[in-house]
């Protein structure tokens, strides 16, 4: 089996992650699904985040189980919770570098220590931070997987994902994914390569805008809690992270009703995590009213205006005065 020639996009992602090998795969869940399958055997066991959603969640819950793997869902940002799930047949821990939608940063270096001590592979889904803000392989992760959209491709909307790590393992993942899909087409690969060159610039703008939106939300009386990590709340991350990305979420005091067509403001319980069902959402700590915000690289004034409108509209009405009551 000869090594396929690497595309420009694969070389760039490899350089960004400090990876010896990378493979671009068609399908946003192909890299994570391929990694979980390639690194495990029938009869094996994997640990994945409880709040996992989207095509990877579907794959893990349905396909992976049918392929003979057992799956434990837990809070993968909590080392103790991960440790409590370990079994003799555990082979892989999958974690997201930033748990979406609660935006908790994953202590990748500590998880890597646990994984190495227990002879496990640690796979980090770094979609939310991108290699511009976190390089999991430097911290001891076995493999890193990322969806290309929205950050790597600059919101072009490529339905693709990338896996990076040691050549032997990347080749296994690529071979696994090739059974049900294919490598990314050359045109998409070229688009991605062109977009990657400005990744650091985009992530810088995203972080700046996200902090601005968070500052507005923290000052609004209709907001109970804002979920956006920083180096004050996660000082341990100063050694590992260069930032916390361009996503935040908040808990309003009264339910919001964002426009369904607005992708920058959404309710995870009704969109990305609707498929989990109420019980599993509660177990993962995702309330029905939690709002997820994804600022773009454009100035956030319009987004702040949208949020202000939603919060003001949701403000509880003043208590009604019973009939017959006299005001003095």
């Amino acid at each position: 089996m000869d090594e396929p020639p690497r595309s420009a996009a694969e070389r760039l992602v490899g350089e960004l992650h400090g990876a010896e090998a990378t493979a671009l795969l068609a399908g946003s869940g192909a890299a994570a699904g391929g990694a979980l399958t390639a690194l495990t055997n029938p009869g094996g066991h994997v640990i994945v985040p409880a709040q996992l959603a989207g095509p990877v969640r579907d794959f893990v819950e349905n396909d992976l189980a049918r392929m003979g793997r057992e799956v434990s869902f837990t809070d993968c940002t909590d080392i103790a919770a991960v440790g409590a799930c370990l079994r003799p047949e555990t082979q892989v821990v999958l974690t997201e570098s930033l748990s979406d939608p609660l935006m908790r940063p994953s202590p990748v270096n500590e998880l890597a220590e646990l994984a190495h001590a227990a002879d496990l592979f640690l796979v980090v889904d770094n979609t939310a931070l991108s290699p511009a803000l976190l390089r999991p392989l430097d911290l001891g992760a076995t493999l890193v997987v990322e969806r290309c959209s929205p950050y790597l491709d600059g919101r072009v909307g490529l339905d693709a994902s990338v896996v990076a790590g040691p050549p032997r393992l990347v080749r296994r993942v690529a071979a696994q994914a090739a059974r049900t899909g294919a490598r990314l087409d050359p045109w998409s690969s070229e688009l991605l390569a062109a977009s990657l060159r400005a990744l650091a610039l985009r992530m810088s703008a995203l972080q700046r805008n996200t902090r601005e939106v968070a500052a507005f939300l923290r000052g609004h009386p209709g907001v109970a809690r804002v979920n956006l990590p920083d180096f004050d709340s996660a000082p341990w991350a100063a050694e590992t992270h260069r930032g916390f990305g361009g996503l935040l979420s908040f808990e309003p005091r009264a339910p919001l009703v964002p426009a369904t067509h607005d992708e920058s403001v959404s309710l995870p319980a009704r969109t990305s995590h609707a498929g989990l069902g109420a019980r599993r959402r509660r177990a993962a700590g995702i309330s029905a009213t939690l709002v997820r915000v994804a600022p773009g690289i454009e100035p956030p004034a319009r987004l702040v205006g949208t949020l202000r409108g939603l919060l003001d509209a949701a403000r509880p009405a003043p208590p009604r005065v019973p009939e017959g009551t006299r005001h003095v």
Binding site: D2, A38, N41, E89, T90, H116, D119, R168, R172
Partner: protein, 381 residues
């Protein structure tokens, strides 16, 4: 990919193993428990392999009594004996090694048949391998495949070299005690009857072994370039040991080979005994990287039996001196190995006794060939 063997993957593992020794360390485990009707159940446990784990929970049934369990036909009516399982390991490993060797040489094989045997007449244990390679192959390719089988077949080297086998027995009575037996160089009983297993290579590292109505699939985990379809040869060998020891604890001869060492105290109905067998494997030896041992090392049997069985320790001690499969390991005799191509014998051109180094890879006296991986690894040429 040639002969279904992922040569590129093996080469990558060889390179990775040379750079980082932990990538090449494997630990295999099986757990045996008695079943009814003179059968033992052996499960493969997760294997540690380099920085990760391999989990393939296969269950094997091994027959340690000659009678079929009519009342329990699901318990392996045609289960192999421990000796058949051990010979299947020997033959399956040789077939996979020959297929790999031919793949490395770029030679396509249409078939590989192996006869693995033990107990043939002669002064030794009479164990050996006869390989028949089929396809458009020349004598040079066959000779190199034979040499690779002699050098890199893990089970053959395990049997050929002095292997440390430790047995720890623990009695769970009100006065628990453990005993460690061996390693010792005590002579073992040779099999009283001849045994033979036929192995047909299926492709890649997969083979099917047959013996007296029993059928055994042999494969490797995908991490070792197999297809996860069956236990690997090393697990078969450990399963054979586990079954034989369990049978001895249960008072049967254990090998299913007529060793004549049946203590005659057991009824074969099964006890609550449990037997864990583990072994270590340095894949650098298998890959020919550096002067590393090729065969299994640190073979450890840990037996646990119930308190009401006060004679278990005596039977276990007896087994360590007379077990047929254990004897194959502890006698450390090189299995005779020969090759034919499309049925025609090939002169191997090697001196008697293979001329191959044994033990930790130190060249034997008079052996001009170094075993250093940079010179001998088929994957680093």
């Amino acid at each position: 990919m040639c002969n279904g063997v992922d040569v590129t993957g093996m080469r990558e593992l060889a390179v990775a193993s040379r750079q980082a020794s932990w990538e090449a360390q494997a630990e295999l485990n099986v757990l045996g428990t008695p079943a009814a009707g003179g059968r033992e159940r052996v499960r493969t446990l997760p294997m540690r392999l380099g920085p990760g784990r391999v989990a393939r929970p296969f269950a094997l049934t091994v027959a340690t009594a000659p009678t079929r369990p009519a009342a329990a036909p699901d318990l392996g009516a045609d289960a192999p004996s421990p000796m058949a399982a051990a010979l299947a390991a020997l033959g399956g490993c040789a077939a996979a090694t020959a297929a790999t060797s031919l793949a490395v040489q770029g030679a396509y094989a249409t078939g590989i048949s192996v006869r693995a045997f033990a107990g043939r007449p002669g002064p030794s244990l009479g164990a050996g391998l006869e390989l028949d390679l089929r396809g458009d192959l020349d004598a040079g390719q066959a000779r190199l495949a034979l040499e690779h089988v002699r050098r890199f077949s893990v089970i053959r080297r395990t049997l050929a070299e002095p292997a440390e086998v430790r047995v720890i027995g623990t009695w769970t009575g009100d006065e628990p005690r453990s005993v460690t037996l061996g390693p010792s160089g005590a002579a073992q009983d040779r099999p009283a009857t001849a045994h033979e297993v036929r192995v047909e290579w299926e492709g890649g590292l997969r083979s099917i072994a047959t013996s007296a109505g029993s059928r055994m699939e042999i494969d490797q985990p995908k991490q070792l370039f197999g297809a996860d379809s069956a236990p690997n040869p090393q697990e078969y060998l450990l399963a054979a040991l586990a079954a034989e020891a369990l049978a001895a604890l249960g008072g049967r001869s254990g090998s299913g080979a007529g060793t004549g060492t049946d203590t005659g105290t057991g009824t074969g109905t099964g006890t609550a005994a449990e037997l864990h067998v583990s072994a270590r494997l340095d894949l650098r030896g298998w890959l020919g990287v550096g002067p590393r041992p090729v065969g299994l090392r640190n073979i450890l049997l840990q037996c646990l039996w119930p308190p009401e069985d006060r004679d278990g320790l005596d039977r276990l001690v007896h087994w360590t001196g007379h077990g047929a499969v254990l004897g194959l390991l502890r006698r450390a005799e090189r299995p005779h190995t020969s090759v034919t191509v499309n049925g025609l014998p090939i002169s191997d051109g090697l001196p008697v006794g293979d001329g191959l180094p044994v033990g930790d890879g130190t060249p034997a006296a008079g052996d001009p060939r170094p075993i250093d991986g940079s010179d001998t690894s088929p994957y680093l040429q």
